[in-house]
Symmetry: C2
Subunit: 190 residues, 2 copies
Amino acid sequence: MHEDMSPETRLLRSTEALIYAHGINATGMDAIVKASGVSRKSLYRLYPTKEALITAALSRRDDRWMRWLIDGTSEGGAIQRLRAIFPMLREWFASPDFHGCAFINAAGEIGDPGSDIRAVSQQHKRRLLEYLNGLCGACGFSDHEEVARQLLILIDGATAVAMVTGQAGAADSAGRIAERLLQTPSPSDE
Amino acid sequence: MHEDMSPETRLLRSTEALIYAHGINATGMDAIVKASGVSRKSLYRLYPTKEALITAALSRRDDRWMRWLIDGTSEGGAIQRLRAIFPMLREWFASPDFHGCAFINAAGEIGDPGSDIRAVSQQHKRRLLEYLNGLCGACGFSDHEEVARQLLILIDGATAVAMVTGQAGAADSAGRIAERLLQTPSPSDE
DNA sequence: TCTAGAATAGAATGATCATTCTCCATCAGT
DNA sequence: ACTGATGGAGAATGATCATTCTATTCTAGA
């Protein structure tokens, strides 16, 4: 299986899949060695500890996930791009191996706030917020930073609810909220 | 420490605190025995497996959390009660040992969909949704079930974002979104 | 073909895991 | 005081953990 990739790629791919499916602590190095086909020696030469490997795998997932989001929202103006996020989420939630946001799961599992794993999760949310912020700015919203924060909450909320309840329709509900935010960016009354 | 409580209460209390702080898999039975002051024999007599103990501890947390929410939103009419949720969340997020939603964390950590732990997490979200649904119904919204689902997404989204980023202000952003949902329950245009 | 270096499979290590067992102290009923 | 059961502390068990080591195979260069 996948012998045509470099050992490092095979390693990160397998690690990413295993920890997403079973969690970080429940995934042993043995399982990673077996799934990746990379020897223990090579593994520890590339990444000296399990934490370093997990960090690298999550960082790779950050890249892939952001590219998936950006590529899937590449048509139309900024508002259309923001709108396109929620149907994408719906498809993701309905995919058979969906298990929530890997970064929320990782941060929730790791207690130590100084862990590199927590730092990667924070960085992922920063990157996502930055992307949303750029689009909201292009929409001309005066309070675009606040709108971006609100969209982040909608995305992560829908993801968490879909993971726990199994209902992909959470993406639709979040999309309907987003629709309101995008229609009238500043509260009209009050 | 807390010798005046029953062994079962001490056990569940310590278990709840430990798994919330460090995760399920990273919490050993040894740590639970030491923290609770309950002997191994009594522990395994009350709960025959770790999973049973964790399930009971999470179920207790479900009760406590829901009571915390309901008691904190007991003043005024239904709309005021819904509004009161978000300031409560803000305080919770800012508390020193805040570590996200224990049920999202648990579901994210446990891979097996048939696990009892996942069932408790689902039940908690059902309970929370039911409470929101009751309040939304009392508000007279025609689409009160949808509004309740949307509020659930806001609550869980703010909780997840606050956990990963450490910013308690996520509760304020979610509260501002909720304000809009409560002001104009049905989309006026489209 | 011969050899040095690198990568492999997998055993060894020592810690920790959940769970069970052993031994001892406590205590109620007679 | 004696007995029988109960619960406690903590050792034993056997599995699994992350990490290191060993012994073997492969490969590149002369």
